[in-house]
Symmetry: C2
Subunit: 331 residues, 2 copies
């Protein structure tokens, strides 16, 4: 069954099953706001064959990843989600089933964070695109910004990097012969198809902020790569950083499979791991890393410089200055 | 100059000129919220050659219309705007100038309502699409809903209908010979290219709500046509309506140019006039119409029925039952 056979009203009826019935049905969605919080808004657009491909990504996974990317942006701001809207552009020939699976994937990810789809728009288009806007709430004093990293701060990552990029490689090249076990292969592919937004970090971070009386937390998510995140925060904060290559947590499976250089390249430039990068005073950083566990690490420190230097304690890689040009460019 | 020549970062630098500098630069935009208000969110997606065409619409007009459509949805909910996000998908060959003009048109419309562009996303795509999400605030007791029309309510329209559709006709058929004056022609074309969201209605409506102690106001905007708006409100409210054809305010220029039947068809089914349809007790409705002036009118009343009947006092058109199938269908 194709969308043009059931029409806009038919498709809306199906998709409304994924939305809270008391919120939809008007020109806009109405949501209560908790007093004294700020509203955080973030948008992502995904285009078929640019950001996803049926070769590597089922419609469920497209939905999950789109939702995860937006929730990750909220986590990066320190905000808990209120809801998302979905702007969907589709050819009339798109199978109805494809759209249902997309929404299933989105809601699977959203339900883990009690986040409703509160509205959207469906339009005809020669190619599929999914535009998601997520909005959340944060206490003004707990808002995480890019421009507040301070000289002396430790740089924390909340988990391991490079797994999503490695999983993509495995999906793109089914004939790839690797020394990976079945479990490792599946773990890397899952890291690519079902990345987890790190909203779970926030309550733990708030405890640390509270116990250390911290203000002006700086950070962002690593969706465009770990190197990009460090560079963006340093650029916005007008500081530099020294990053210790051996401290970057690589996924166990990538170490088993790839050379150290390749695994590190995936970690720095691969993107889509959706971890958080946070800059905190050293003692608070250590405590956060200990409480998070599971790949969280202090990977470097903020210095008074205009450069971000990657250093290798084992001296296997010469010092290098990181720059944005190796990251993903949209044009 | 094409976008692919300046890249994503180059384009972002240009577009950031259209955004408040203190709000952009993070993973999400942060906005203060007034306590005790509800958040209203609405999304629209526009696709090149489906929703706009370079034949009829300059990039400035695409921008204006996209912003106006979203502000109109907020007005339809009774909400004042806080900001919008823009998700832009573009081929690399798009002229940089085209995108600048799009943003100029958007901000021209937004500035009239003190509404900032607070963020967005720019991605590569084979075709141009513009996904806008607007968010606003409304006091819970002043929220306008579709499902609250009551038997006995008068149906108010805030202005004239059919001008946008007539303007489109003139733009599509430059060789169209009409008996229109240059002024009338320009007025109709402007109605299509630069529709005005009726946020100005809200303070006047609030006065009436206050002085008549009204609760549960029902309504929506007429962006998909006046017939669609009446039908949607009646369907959601589980009521019917009788609409008096002679009371529907037609644009003077359409009366000069078209048969009465054609002008009425444009008014009922043309869409994109972006007026509001509101259901209020009769006395309150008369006062609202008087205060609004300029085409505002009571066009009918809500009845206990499952049908919406169009009646012509002059008996030139036989009674007809309105239905949604004549409205714009997206697939």
């Amino acid at each position: 069954m194709q969308i043009k056979e059931i029409g806009e009203q038919g498709l809306l009826k199906i998709l409304q099953r994924f939305c809270p019935p008391d919120i939809i049905g008007d020109d806009g969605a109405v949501l209560p706001i908790i007093a004294d919080k700020s509203l955080v808004v973030t948008t992502d657009v995904l285009i078929d064959k640019v950001h996803f491909s049926e070769i590597t990504t089922s419609p469920e996974d497209v939905g999950w990843r789109a939702a995860a990317a937006n929730l990750s942006d909220l986590a990066a701001m320190g905000a808990l989600p209120l809801g998302i809207t979905v702007g969907l552009a589709l050819p009339g020939e798109t199978p109805v089933n494809w759209v249902e699976k997309l929404y299933q994937g989105m809601t699977q990810c959203l339900q883990k964070h009690n986040t409703p789809i509160v509205g959207g728009d469906i339009v005809r288009s020669p190619i599929i695109s999914v535009a998601i806007t997520a909005f959340g709430q944060v206490s003004p004093q707990l808002t995480i910004r890019r421009d507040r990293a301070k000289v002396g701060d430790a740089i924390v990552v909340t988990g391991c990097h490079g797994a999503s990029r490695a999983g993509l490689e495995l999906l793109l090249h089914h004939d790839l012969t690797t020394n990976l076990t079945k479990n490792d292969t599946e773990a890397l592919i899952k890291a690519h198809q079902r990345p987890k937004p790190r909203l779970d970090v926030l309550p733990i971070l708030w405890e640390i902020i509270d116990s250390h009386s911290l203000v002006d937390i700086s950070g962002m998510d690593t969706s465009d790569g770990l190197a990009d995140a460090i560079l963006q925060v340093c650029h916005s904060s007008k500081v530099g950083a020294i990053v210790e290559a051996t401290e970057i947590t690589l996924h166990k499976a990538t170490i088993n499979w790839l050379t150290k250089e390749k695994a590190l390249e995936y970690a720095l430039y691969g993107g889509e791991d959706f971890e958080l990068l946070l800059c905190l005073p050293k003692q608070a950083a250590s405590e956060l890393v200990e409480k998070l566990g599971d790949g969280a690490a202090v990977v470097g420190s903020i210095i008074d410089s205009d450069k971000v230097v990657l250093h290798d304690r084992d001296e296997k890689i010469p010092d290098q200055i990181l720059n944005l040009n190796r990251g993903f460019q949209h044009f």
